[in-house]
Symmetry: C2
Subunit: 159 residues, 2 copies
């Protein structure tokens, strides 16, 4: 199976990764959340080559994560803005950044701290169940298979 066909899988994670799972793409989104919107700004901040950046921005726009908005005519130029769909990826980025803070920082400590405005403390990101409001660990989750794919998704002999 080719990576570019991964969106054919009946798996929400695989389909998500078909849009945002390529190299560089999550770093593009990081910069989007920092307010970066223009091609050259992404390129200079990331150091990614221009045609890879061009490809990633196109995929993100086609996938609905970013929208291409004209910010001037003559010459026509566009910038890239997060859509609601894109902003919904914030928890993914926050948890990944926190995971790096925890396990991969050097002596000088994490480069950025995310402060929760409402409580004034550094964010300790947790996974919360929106229904009951409690924090959730992996063991707290039970998987239910959609009957349509019954028996094809979960491993048979493991748990």
């Amino acid at each position: 199976m080719r990576w570019q066909d991964i969106d054919q899988q009946p798996c929400s994670l695989a389909r998500s990764l078909a849009i945002i799972g390529d190299n560089w793409t999550l770093l593009v989104l990081r910069d989007c959340f920092l307010g970066v919107r223009r091609f050259d700004d992404f390129q200079q901040r990331l150091g990614v080559t221009r045609h890879v950046l061009s490809d990633r921005l196109r995929k993100l726009a086609e996938g609905g994560v970013l929208e291409k908005v004209a910010y001037q005519e003559r010459p026509l130029r566009h910038e890239y803005r997060l859509t609601t769909m894109g902003r919904d990826l914030y928890p993914v980025i926050a948890h990944l950044a926190q995971w790096g803070d925890k396990y991969l920082a050097d002596e000088a400590g994490p480069p950025l701290t995310r402060v929760h405005r409402q409580c004034g403390e550094p964010l300790e990101a947790k996974l919360q169940c929106g229904h009951c409001g409690e924090s959730v660990e992996p063991r707290d989750i039970r998987l239910e298979e959609n009957p349509h794919w019954a028996g094809t998704l979960l491993p048979t002999q493991a748990g």
Copy 2:
């Protein structure tokens, strides 16, 4: 800049992605959370080529996300198990899967539902501040720069 040098950046997200940001790696971890541990099981479930799988498992083990544990001698064979560091990635996977459920499912609906055992309802994953317990949106976060990299990380003219 080459993608393989991305772990040199003073950015926790970039360093996280250096370990888990390659194509296929998050799908390997998805299967780890489903209880898959052996090379051939990963290979058959994912459809990834064997040498790419070999490379990804090696990087995950070197990065501390998985540990290679012998499950038999003669011939010596190993399986791959999530470490605590690896289990800490669960929120990332849960949010990515939920994002796919929300935006990328087809007519038959999401293939799997994650049920929160404690409350019995399908998980509505949210980003929670562990300090105050409230749900967090992107706008609730203020970034503070580590003085050690002052002025080099955040964009100058955006927000």
